[in-house]
């Protein structure tokens, strides 16, 4: 394969130039549209051919190897999933205490009732899909509010780095963090676990096993700082406990996010199964949306197409003032997107949308 034969390309270009195609021959274009190649780019023989490059794992006909360890040999030697998670993400065998701690965390992360991942799994199940689609969808429920492990962890790292740079004590850094992020969903402190001791038990377990480190210590300070300035009772929540305990086990915020989202997906599979077992499927057009839930424009006749100009309203703004007025007007139209902001950043190194929410 490669570019089309020169004669054929010239013939096609000539015919197109003579016919003229819309604005494509306009001299404002930074190219001569009727002098371009056809066909695919020839294979690159100057660079090395494409290969799947990986630091994580390889396989050949006879073995599968992660970070240097043959996975079948690992199992034969008595290791398991928990150990392979340390190997895959950290290229190391965990201590027995670390293995126990991650096991503990994953049990707590497995199930959360009918919260978003289970609900999404069930909704997908009702469309009569593969189980794996529902499990996949459940993982997508993990964002920067629900299961916000990357946002939580990256914030801890940011303020810990700041404390070192500015020579702040942990309590001082925690106070600063809380003063700047008190109402954020990923703070790790909230009113969600005032009656449930599970989060505190998790940190106690980490301390008992000797896996607790600077992240748990910092999180405890964050809890204290939040309790000092919050107007309502707050305490450590599951996000804070789990995120801090995972990071003290050496997992990055992103690895934590992925591991715990996947862990929940097992239970999402059970919810898929139960939904199929106990409920009905959905058909296209089946569900109604009651008018009493609707608060948009009143029912109105569709204008005749011939009278479009009479009814149509242009969005064109010619001055910043006009633009501002329209923007403000559009904020009142729910679903238009003018009332929210979503600053999308490249999550390659540190994941997290800078800000999502109401303007």
């Amino acid at each position: 394969m490669g570019y089309l034969d020169k004669k054929k390309a010239e013939s096609l270009n000539k015919a197109k130039r003579e016919r003229s195609i819309g604005n494509l021959g306009d001299p404002k274009n930074p190219f001569d549209y009727y002098d371009r190649e056809y066909g695919t780019v020839p294979q690159d023989t100057k660079r090395a051919p494409f290969q799947w490059v990986s630091e994580v794992a390889y396989k050949n006909v006879h073995r599968i190897v992660t970070r240097g360890y043959d996975t079948t040999e690992l199992m034969e030697e008595g290791y398991g999933v928990i150990d392979v998670l340390f190997i895959d993400y950290q290229a190391r065998i965990p201590t027995i205490e670390e293995e126990k701690m991650l096991n503990y965390i994953m049990i707590l992360a497995l199930e959360d009732g009918l919260s978003a991942p289970a609900a999404i799994s069930r909704i997908v199940a009702r469309s009569k899909t593969f189980l794996t689609q529902a499990c996949g969808a459940s993982i997508m429920a993990f964002g920067h509010a629900y299961g916000a492990y990357s946002a939580f962890g990256n914030r801890l790292e940011k303020y810990l780095a700041l404390s070192k740079k500015q020579n702040l004590s942990l309590p001082e850094a925690a106070k600063l963090l809380v003063s700047e992020n008190l109402n954020d969903e990923a703070l790790g402190v909230s009113n969600l676990m005032l009656k449930d001791p599970a989060a505190k038990r998790m940190l106690a377990r980490a301390e008992k096993l000797g896996t607790a480190g600077e992240y748990i210590a910092f999180t405890r300070e964050i809890v204290a700082a939040a309790q000092e300035i919050s107007t309502e009772p707050v305490d450590l929540d599951m996000l804070g406990a789990t995120g801090a305990a995972m990071m003290d086990l050496g997992f990055t915020p992103e690895a934590t996010w992925a591991i715990l989202a996947v862990t929940r997906s097992f239970a999402a599979g059970a919810h898929y199964i139960e939904e199929v077992e106990r409920e009905e499927t959905n058909r296209l057009g089946q569900e109604l949306t009651p008018k009493e839930d609707y608060d948009g424009p009143e029912d109105r006749p569709v204008p005749p197409l011939a009278e479009r100009d009479k009814y149509a309203a242009s969005a064109l703004c010619t001055t910043p003032d006009e633009w501002t007025q329209r923007f403000e007007r559009m904020k009142t139209i729910n679903g238009s997107g003018f009332g929210i902001i979503e600053e999308v950043e490249d999550p390659s190194k540190k994941s997290g949308i800078k800000k999502v929410g109401k303007l």
Binding site: R47, K59, V81, S115, F130, G143, P197, G269
Partner: protein, 298 residues
């Protein structure tokens, strides 16, 4: 803060109050405090029971050996999705969703075993006799026998037979292992008699047999296998996000990238002129009548 669930359901899996999260009657925090393993929790979740020690060991082995598989459709899916730099869970969701009718079709293998075991019981045949029937029926119909063969591990999946052996070592050899072993025996014999090459059992054939032997349904087994792979696929996506180049098409890399323009091989219709709107109706009618387009319909 609104703490109502997104929708109401009667469920026998779990409930959550302000005081605790309870799965199949067990407080999750108590389960962890007591020292149960994550594998034990899988039995509670899917089977509503605490497993025996050997069952727990079997699941630990099966999940661990299945977790990482380097470049399979699942890892490639995760890496492909990561090229656009979405949030990491999207890559993992894509990876888990690659498990279908061919990649790790654990449920299909399980349903096949269950269907023929039911027939054995109904028709008064032994497990061995029914295994021969299964192999003959599949091979006579030209259908692939589920659980046999792997396109990369061409002379035997390195995980597969060790799973069988572990199952035997743990003395968990029940009706499923007997049936699967018999399927393999007749499958090998038939291929040999037909002069065809050796094709070994794959990790679905052995792993799913073990999962069903320790009490998981075909779907629960499929969930366990597919989702556990998500752990490693997330690592592959993360490696590419943190240490690779976004888009996968940079011409400045020393190696040709995943979607470099030169990686595209086009085998469709030749380049042609777009008809003007005034030519359109006649052009479209002729094209439809000539029917050449039909060879390209997918």
């Amino acid at each position: 803060m609104d703490r109502k669930p997104p929708f109401r359901r009667k469920t026998s899996i779990s409930y959550k109050t302000e005081e605790k999260t309870v799965m199949r009657g067990y407080n999750l925090s108590d389960l962890a405090e007591e020292g149960y393993s994550f594998y034990d929790a899988m039995f509670v979740l899917f089977q509503n029971r605490i497993p025996t020690e050997t069952e727990e060991k079997m699941l630990k082995y099966e999940m661990g050996v299945f977790l990482e598989h380097s470049m399979s459709p699942s890892a490639v899916g995760a890496i492909g999705v990561s090229a656009g730099r979405p949030n990491l869970p999207v890559c993992v969701a894509a990876a888990v969703s690659t498990f279908g009718g061919v990649h790790g079709p654990g449920a299909a293998h399980g349903y096949m075993l269950n269907k023929y075991l039911k027939r054995a019981q109904k028709e008064g045949l032994t497990v061995d006799e029914m295994a021969k029937t299964l192999v003959d029926e599949y091979m006579d119909a030209g259908r692939p026998v589920m659980g046999m063969g792997q396109p990369q591990h061409i002379d035997s999946d390195p995980r597969a037979e060790p799973i069988h052996l572990k199952q035997e070592e743990l003395e968990l050899n029940g009706v499923y292992l007997e049936f699967q072993r018999a399927v393999e025996k007749y499958f090998h014999a038939r291929r040999k008699a037909d002069g065809r090459s050796y094709v070994g059992v794959n990790v679905v054939g052995s792993g799913n047999t073990a999962l069903m032997e320790i009490g998981f349904s075909p779907n629960a087994g499929w969930c366990i296998g597919s989702v556990v792979r998500g752990f490693s696929c997330a690592a592959h996506a993360l490696f590419n996000m943190k240490k690779g180049r976004a888009w996968g098409a940079s011409r400045n890399e020393p190696m040709v990238q995943m979607i470099d323009l030169s990686m595209i091989k086009y085998v469709g219709p030749e380049d042609r002129i777009v008809p003007k709107q005034e030519e359109r109706q006649e052009y479209a009618r002729t094209q439809k009548e000539e029917g050449e387009y039909k060879q390209w319909v997918i």
